[in-house]
């Protein structure tokens, strides 16, 4: 447990978070937009250089390997990873809000910010789209969820859906940020003040504006969730399942979605830990946030094994040629060690780590679980997408996969693309912290308003108001 944790007293018992005056909240959080500017500038320059190298490597790869789709597995895995982590993170701020959980309020901004990573996904996916075979291969229509649709349906509609996800995420982020832009207008100076003035769009906090704000958050949140599931369904099917003959796996899109949520929660935990430490926000980010998030993380880790096993048992027990091919390709085949290591990181290690309440109810415990899961998720995506793309297009019409392809190793371009792609995704997240507070001012104020520390019998408690 962190010694700087303000809601922990000497004996190690937790005390309820102290209420902080509204003005102090505004002042502290607006100050985060200027804290450590020099260091952030240096990191941003480094990320920008890596992003440019990554994009150049992607262009070079397109010209070098545009006639061989089997070499594009690592790019597909990277995009799936970014889509999962960046797409899943905003859900952390949506689902608990809809369930009226008060603890989530200080987390909503940082989770919504990750919708900005979608911009990089939209750029990186373009060459991969070009590598995706059309629905008609060698004059014969291949298996797909588009059935008799136009032959470029996956290319067009997957991109449209992804764009819809990114736009909805940005709309959610912007709608929820309006009161804070107004706070920037009132309390900051220079270009930030001007930007706040422009982006706050006349927000003065009338009853009607607040009502509209809540309605927008609810609407965009629900819509975001639906699109996220749909995008996961499309991406998992078009970019993995339909590339492998005979892979018919109804749970796979949900598996992709669940792991996306797992990655999303993990990245939020990691970011929360960093901003708490870096911006010294111990007053606003309490053990309760880590505790609740790590419970979510633990539940999602259990769902990973449940969804994986639900598919595995059916294939393992079925024993048809199709079933055996699935197991040989994705489990025991060329990437067996990646699968085993991935399973260790995404399931076994975080499971045994997060099962302990003492670990969950601390600041430093959940971050370890989160990092393990992020590594595991990346390995899991490699296992799924590299193997799926390694199947040559010539065998796409077969009833089942008769020859398991050899292991495809990454070349230097793949490595540069992975590093550059991750940098490109996180660059806007870093830059936005200069524009708007990483914790939502109004949500933190509301958190304080609705939760009052009380002395309860012989112990401490919190009186949490639950408005409709």
């Amino acid at each position: 447990m962190s010694k700087t944790d303000t809601n922990t007293h000497n004996k190690g018992h937790h005390l309820p978070p102290k209420n902080v005056p509204f003005n102090e909240i505004t002042k502290d959080l607006i100050a985060t937009t200027v804290t450590g500017s020099k260091k952030i500038k240096q990191i941003s320059i480094l990320l920008s250089i890596l992003s440019i190298i990554g994009i150049i490597a992607l262009i070079v790869k397109y010209f070098a390997d545009h006639d061989d789709s089997t070499k594009w597995g690592y790019v597909a895995a990277l995009i799936s990873f970014l889509l999962s982590v960046g797409g899943g993170a905003p859900m952390v701020g949506i689902a608990p809000v809809l369930a009226k959980a008060n603890w989530v309020r200080p987390v909503t901004r940082i989770s919504a910010i990750f919708s900005l990573t979608g911009v990089s996904t939209l750029i990186l996916i373009i060459p991969l789209m070009m590598m995706l075979p059309p629905l008609m291969v060698d004059g014969v229509r291949r298996r797909s969820i588009w059935f008799e649709g136009p032959i470029y349906s996956p290319h067009v509609w997957d991109y449209v859906a992804l764009m819809g996800l990114v736009l909805t995420g940005l709309a959610l982020f912007y709608s929820a940020a309006l009161p804070d832009f107004a706070a920037m207008r009132e309390h900051s100076s220079g270009w930030r003040k001007n930007l706040g003035k422009t982006l706050s769009r006349g927000w003065i906090g009338t009853d009607s504006q607040w009502r509209t704000l809540r309605m927008r958050i609810g609407m965009f949140g629900t819509f975001y969730f639906l699109i996220l599931i749909f995008v996961n369904f499309l991406f998992a099917t078009d970019f993995a399942m339909s590339m492998v003959p005979g892979w018919r796996d109804a749970i796979f899109p949900m598996y992709h979605a669940i792991t996306s949520l797992q990655g999303g929660v993990a990245i939020v935990v990691a970011s929360l830990w960093i901003i708490r430490k870096y911006f010294k926000l111990e007053k606003y980010i309490h053990v309760d946030q880590f505790w609740s998030l790590s419970r979510l993380l633990f539940a999602l880790t259990l769902l990973w094994i449940y969804f994986f096993y639900s598919a595995f048992i059916v294939f393992w027990y079925g024993r048809s040629a199709n079933d055996i091919a699935w197991i040989e390709l994705l489990i025991t085949g060329p990437m067996m060690w990646v699968f085993l290591t991935g399973a260790f990181f995404i399931w076994i290690a975080p499971w045994w780590w997060l099962i302990w309440n003492k670990v969950r109810r601390s600041v430093n415990g959940p971050i370890i679980g989160a990092i393990l899961i992020l590594i595991g998720l990346f390995l899991d995506r490699l296992r799924l997408f590299v193997t799926a793309w390694s199947v040559p297009t010539e065998s796409i019409h077969e009833k089942y996969l008769k020859i398991i392809p050899e292991l495809v190793l990454p070349n230097y371009l793949d490595i540069l693309i992975i590093i550059g792609g991750i940098s490109l995704a996180f660059l806007p997240v870093l830059l936005i912290s200069r524009v708007i507070p990483v914790l939502s001012i109004w949500e933190v104020q509301q958190f304080n308003l609705l939760a009052k520390p009380i002395k309860y019998m012989k112990t401490h408690g919190v009186l949490v108001a639950k408005p409709d």
Binding site: H14, I229, R248, D249, Y317, L463, P467
Partner: protein
């Protein structure tokens, strides 16, 4: 908890113990009527055991029919208890409190009922013993422990044991309460069952920890039970429509949909019959309906995935089966009824707050859900077997016999009968939960608004 009322403990005891201390007038005739129905049902089962499965409509190739459908249905209903009691307890949903006991009870009795069906389906139930005691190793005739047909009874009996324990642990404080208000043999019974409950801090601590531990332990069992039931079907590649990887979560989410709807039905009945208007309030129905909208929509999503990936493979037999299931008489009619009663009508209704707070409408919509969910299981199990395939030499459409329908009706009468018997001796709404709710809830003033609030303990 907008409709929270300040109720003192004496009033709570008086009203919630009215089933045990003052028996309502309707109770005896209702139990007698149900008892007659139960007897008729047992007679039908007796006839079937005596004459064999020939009295049913089961025949080649449809060997799994109404009995297995009803088995899956009751296992599904049993998911109510853990969903309401364990999951909502762990997530600290305050509105769960009056509902927990009834949900746990439904779990126990529906599991007990579910167990009858595979036994009956076996035709000669006594032969089930060979699954447990292998009689001849040397001839290799022993049960295959890798078969889901072995996992099924193991999972269900574990779930039944756990659920009964869960129900009992939560019942102990109320048993202590009843012990102190009864005399004679009843007092002796409650004294034994209350296990020396005095309500001291240590006992409360143990009871709370026991409840939380059991909740956490029951969750994996809860998920595994219906998953295993689904694998009875899913691991078989030879029957079209069954070999699907999504079956486990699809069955579990469907079970929650059906189980929570059954709890709504029960709550409405409890409110009407025992006049517990102060305890089972429209806000509870509203909260359950919101939960059901989410669960039902997730279930519909799984249904969509199941269907789309069935046709995705473009295998001719699978396509033929789906065509039959959705477009051919009489399956098409059943499919439409299933879709409308399982989702479209009830969820369409629950979108309106006025419906969610209307107990009569909630009652009827929850019944619709369970009609739909029963049909869903029927449409999963029977058409896959009924579709004509090459090399099948006998071919008859499956029509459940009157006896099968009678046994289906018996199962509902049996569960209701058991519930009413239970209500005669034990409270259906947990008294201590109700009182705890009074302590843990409050109203706070924020600005000009009075907002309901909940006390959360820290450490």
């Amino acid at each position: 908890m907008q409709q929270r009322r300040d109720l003192n403990q004496v009033h709570t005891n008086k009203v919630l113990l009215n089933g045990q201390l003052n028996v309502p007038k309707w109770w005896a005739p209702t139990v007698a009527l149900l008892g007659i129905m139960v007897l008729i049902g047992f007679t039908a089962i007796g006839i079937m055991v005596n004459k064999g499965l020939g009295v049913t409509g089961l025949s080649r190739p449809v060997y799994w029919g109404l009995f297995i459908t009803t088995f899956v249905f009751w296992v599904g209903i049993s998911h109510a208890g853990i969903m309401i009691s364990a999951i909502l307890r762990l997530t600290q949903a305050e509105w769960r409190r009056p509902v927990t006991r009834a949900a746990e009870l439904l779990t126990v009795f529906s599991l007990l009922t579910a167990l009858f069906f595979p036994l009956m389906h076996a035709g000669r139930p006594w032969r089930i013993i060979y699954y447990i005691i292998p009689y001849d190793f040397s001839r290799g005739i022993y049960p295959n422990i890798r078969s889901p047909l072995i996992w099924d009874p193991v999972a269900i009996s574990t779930y039944l044991t756990g659920s009964t324990l869960f129900l009992y642990v939560a019942l102990i404080p109320d048993l202590g309460n009843l012990r102190d208000r009864t005399t004679g043999w009843k007092n002796a019974l409650y004294t034994i069952l209350a296990l020396g409950w005095r309500g001291n801090p240590r006992q409360w601590q143990m009871q709370t920890i026991g409840g939380i531990l059991l909740s956490a332990l029951m969750l994996p069992i809860f998920v595994s039970v219906h998953s295993i039931v689904s694998w009875d079907f899913a691991i078989i590649p030879s029957v079209e429509g069954w070999h699907s990887t999504i079956f486990a979560p699809y069955f579990v989410i469907g079970a929650v949909h059906s189980g929570v709807s059954a709890v709504v039905t029960m709550m409405a009945l409890m409110r009407w019959l025992w006049k517990w208007d102060d305890f089972i309030r429209p806000e509870h129905f509203d909260a359950l309906a919101r939960l059901l909208i989410v669960v039902a929509t997730a279930w519909l999503g799984f249904t969509f995935l199941e269907l789309i990936f069935a046709v995705y493979g473009l295998d001719a037999p699978e396509l033929a089966l789906r065509e039959m299931q959705i477009f051919h008489w009489p399956w098409n009619l059943l499919f439409i009824i299933f879709l409308f009663t399982g989702y479209i009508i009830p969820v369409g209704m629950w979108l309106f707050k006025s419906v969610r707070s209307n107990i009569a409408l909630m009652f009827w919509s929850s019944i619709l859900v369970n009609i739909g969910m029963w049909l869903e299981r029927y449409l999963i199990i029977v058409p896959g077997l009924a579709r004509k395939q090459p090399f099948v030499f006998t071919w008859e459409a499956y029509r459940p016999s009157g006896l099968e329908w009678l046994i289906l009706v018996w199962s509902f009468a049996w569960v209701t009968f058991l519930m009413l018997l239970f209500s005669r001796f034990f409270p259906l709404v947990p008294l201590f939960e109700q009182k705890e709710s009074q302590v843990f809830t409050d109203d706070v003033k924020i600005g000009r608004a009075k907002v309901p609030a909940i006390i959360r303990e820290i450490d």
